[in-house]
Amino acid sequence: MKHMETEAPPTGQSPPDVSQVDITLTVNGTAHRLEIDSRVTLLDALRDHLGLTGAKKGCDQGACGACTVLVDGKRVVSCLALAAQYEDREITTVESLCPSGELHPMQEAFARHDAFQCGYCTPGQIMSAVSLIAEGRANSEEEIREFMSGNICRCGAYPNIRAAIRDVAAGG
């Protein structure tokens, strides 16, 4: 029995060996020029090339939400995005939430309600929660549950995450 290489087969006459892109990413209001492999995802660009390790890699398949960041104010999973596609877009990561060191109300509420345990999903949860409120979707328990379901918490802090969001939505 033989198993072929598991990479998709090269089909062209001269497939590229290396392909770089030269892009400018605007992250948290700062423009960064990057010359990177075209394969680099937005998540890996943030983490490995810009040192912004707040966004986490939990599945690298768009299924856990740990890598959630905002693009032009809307939440996306940065692991399913090529960095090159996001040139000139406004990218916002968890690192931007407390520029002066004072916690964002959502961060404070997560701390107060113990809305995490290991903390690995937390930046993604918080970016999602901030976005949820901006979307106007924190009006009911049902809404919060449904529209926070793209962020998996394996430690199981969901009830506390909802409590934190309710608090912030209520202006507390």
């Binding site: 029995m1 290489e5 998996i152």
Partner: protein
């Protein structure tokens, strides 16, 4: 033994001390570390489950851009297997021969300048196999059977005689599937050599084990190996062992002479870092018409890898749970061509309790007794195996106070008798008697000239709250404000700590911190023993107490002075003391050592046409001994409960026959609860400090999970009259 005095700091629902780091994304997990000159690795995994590698061609992989090394069994150095540990043997050393023992077995590692290059090149390795027939099914008659693997089989009384006088006998098979730990943090290793010195960032629950193992495997002095894990993205048992990918990363770093980072992919997390093995359990319970249990016989078989160990005594819970005179428990393991199982949150208990507490429900139904009543009626007032009084047990309060809070009395006994519109309603409950576990641990405490305290131990906080509760404990024991106490962990250069596992760390570490802090206060008293300027001179430890950064004589707060005053007068920068804890012994204490207890009450809603099952409410009543922090302990129980809901309703690792491939090794296919699946829930703590240790805690990391599967299954029975004896309880098993 000096028991911990009740203060104001311990027990309080303090926010996690590491919360600011976690909510800002600045907590550094192993895969957040980047080192100068660091390069990246990717693994090559076997695509068959059994056989040999006939040939392995790395030409194209080597030729790919950026590639620095390709290591397979053909060019790997000889590596010793890691040492025997508290948890059994170490996993087999990787790349030592051409044999394939399971799908996903690491058969090569590729190192390249970038992660993209390494992953691509790893896919270019061509492998030809000589496959053999794989054993994949726990029921396969060809599988080698390991009898009584841990010496924990039990027998008391005479079960045959017991069943002979039973009015009712339930004898059923219960099965549980493979589950995969799947901590959200992809497990990662960053290894860096400097001569014979090695620094490793690793997603481990046990830094010392990684240090000892790597030193042994790579034949370097243990003192030169440093393992760091200040934050770990969960573990649930997956980080307890020194798995092959850790060894390979260290090997790769030595090969290329540069720091190497390896981050497992999510599919690799299903085959590389353990899983809860499936089980088939035959359980037989005999009872009288009045509800007295007269005999229990529980046989469990679990799967285990061909050449590895795993601890899963699934039937043991039946020996511990209830006062039944005649009990026989037997465990076996079948050796299969599977990735090695390992502990997953509440190993063995999670599976065994499902059978025991479901079958008990069947007995209750058969004799027409309330499921709560049968559990209270057979309450084990003393330890059923040792015949000793418990060091603490408030399971009765768990049942009664939990039932009260839940509103159990509203339950109408007839299955299918409760409804809410289209939804059938079911109530179910289960009890949990979690076994005691504790192993030796050390800690070091210091008080500095500025009056601040620094306490540390090489433990880990995998989300359990260790940073926080140990800070509180040290603050209480040293009389220093929590804001002025720093507790550090996750560094193998710190005093020895055991694994975060077995619900045993808080007890072991707490008592070590207790010992260190008490000894530190004594050190201060020693310093001023002959110091006539000190109001404390000549005082013994029992004569004093600590508060507000001061030591003073009991009953006379004026007779004391601050740590700073003592250090200043004696020209000292700081004083330090080491402390250690050793597990208490039942025989010495004349008490049976108690783990946590719990009672779980669940309400489910079930749409019988579409098979939709929803957990509407959960009340967990827990005897966890002394609760060091009500907030984090509650989170532990909530999180465990979510894990239990997940085990009951969602999780099943599916394995392809023949190839042994995991057929659902992604988060899109392997289901775990999302936010919308989890109701708000209530947690009650009952009971008080355990009598066996100074601090009196009983670990609460696992008791939260256990019992949910049975309670949900029992509630489904109550809602529908259908008994589901195989997990998970899914739509296809529920459509009526």
């Amino acid at each position: 033994m000096t028991t911990l005095e009740t203060g104001t700091v311990v027990g309080a629902g303090l926010d996690r001390v590491d919360a600011p780091l976690k909510v800002t994304g600045s907590a550094q997990y192993p895969n957040d570390f980047s080192l100068t000159g660091m390069v990246h690795a990717a693994l090559v995994g076997s695509t068959i489950a059994a056989g040999r590698i006939r040939s392995i061609d790395v030409t194209r992989a080597w030729a790919a851009p950026g590639v620095l090394a390709v290591v397979t069994h053909l060019n790997a150095p000889k590596l010793e297997r890691g040492p025997m540990t508290l948890l059994g043997g170490s996993p087999p050393a990787p790349l030592q021969d051409d044999r394939i023992l399971h799908y996903g077995q690491h058969i090569g590692i590729v190192v390249a300048e970038s992660a993209e290059q390494a992953r691509h090149a790893a896919r270019l390795v061509r492998v030809e196999y000589e496959p053999a027939e794989a054993l994949l099914d726990v029921n396969d008659p060809r599988a080698e059977i390991v009898e009584n693997p841990w010496g924990l089989d039990t027998e008391r009384g005479d079960v045959t005689a017991g069943f002979a006088r039973a009015d009712v006998v339930v004898d059923e098979a219960y099965t549980t599937p493979d589950n995969t730990n799947n901590p959200l943090g992809l497990m990662a290793t960053v290894a860096s050599w400097h001569g014979d010195s090695l620094t490793v960032h690793d997603s481990t629950q046990w830094p010392h084990n990684v240090r000892t193992s790597l030193a042994g495997i790579f034949k370097v002095p243990e003192s030169g190996v440093r393992v760091l894990a200040p934050f770990v993205g969960g573990g649930f048992g997956a980080g307890l062992r020194v798995w092959s990918h850790v060894i390979l990363t260290v090997l790769a770093a030595r090969e290329v002479g540069r720091p190497v980072k390896l981050v497992l992919t999510r599919p690799e997390m299903f085959t590389s870092v353990g899983h809860r093995p499936n089980s088939v359990q035959q359980i037989k319970i005999g009872a009288t018409r009045d509800g007295d249990l007269v005999a229990i016989e529980h046989h469990g078989i679990s799967s285990v890898a061909m050449e590895d160990d795993d601890y899963e005594p699934v039937s043991y819970c039946s020996a511990l749970g209830y006062a039944c005179p005649n009990v026989l428990t037997r465990d076996r393991q079948a050796r299969l061509n599977i990735p090695c199982p390992g502990s997953m949150r509440a190993p063995a208990e999670g599976q065994g309790n499902f059978a025991l507490e479901s079958a008990l429900d069947e007995v209750a139904h058969a004799i027409g007794m309330d499921p709560l009543e049968i559990r209270l009626r057979n309450y084990a007032e003393e330890h059923p195996i040792l015949g000793l009084p418990w060091s603490s047990k408030a399971l009765r309060e768990c049942f009664t106070e939990g039932a009260e809070r839940f509103g159990w009395s509203r339950r109408t006994p007839e299955p299918g008798s409760m409804r809410d519109g289209r939804w059938l309603v079911g109530y179910g409950l289960a009890g949990v008697s979690y076994p005691f576990y504790q192993v030796p641990c050390q800690a070091r405490a210091s008080v500095r000239h500025d009056g601040s305290a620094y306490v540390r131990s090489a433990a880990t906080d995998i989300g359990t709250g260790t940073y926080t509760v140990m800070t509180q404990l040290a603050a209480e024991l040293l009389g220093v404000d929590v804001a002025r106490v720093r507790f550090d962990l996750g560094d193998s250069d710190m005093p020895y700590a055991p694994q975060a596992g077995g619900s045993g760390l808080t007890g072991a570490l707490g008592n070590a911190v207790h010992a260190a802090c008490r000894r530190l206060v004594r050190e201060f008293l020693d310093v001023v023993r002959d110091d006539t300027e000190s109001p404390l001179h000549g005082a013994a430890l029992d004569d004093v107490t600590v508060t507000d950064g001061r030591i003073h004589r009991i009953g006379d707060p004026a007779q004391g002075e601050t740590y700073t005053e003592i250090l200043t007068r004696h020209g000292l920068e700081e004083l330090s003391a080491d402390g250690r804890s050793t597990p208490p012994q039942s025989e010495e204490l004349g008490m049976a050592l108690s783990g946590a207890f719990g009672a779980k009450f669940v309400e489910v809603r079930l749409d019988p046409e579409l098979g939709l099952l929803r957990v509407a409410r959960v009340v967990s009543a827990i005897d966890g001994g002394r609760i060091l922090n009500e907030k984090t302990a509650t989170s532990q129980i909530i999180g465990g409960t979510v894990g239990g809901i997940s085990q009951a309703m969602f999780e099943e690792t599916a394995t392809d026959q023949v190839t042994g491939r995991i057929a659902n090794a992604t988060f899109g296919d392997y289901l775990m609860p999302v936010n919308a699946d989890v109701p708000d829930m209530e947690v009650l703590f009952v009971g008080g400090p355990d009598r066996a240790t100074a601090v009196g805690t009983k670990g609460v990391g696992e008791v939260g999970l256990v019992g949910l599967a049975a309670a949900i299954g029992n509630a489904v029975f109550h809602a529908t009259g259908r008994r589901i004896r195989s997990l998970p309880i899914t739509i296809d098993r529920l459509m009526l």
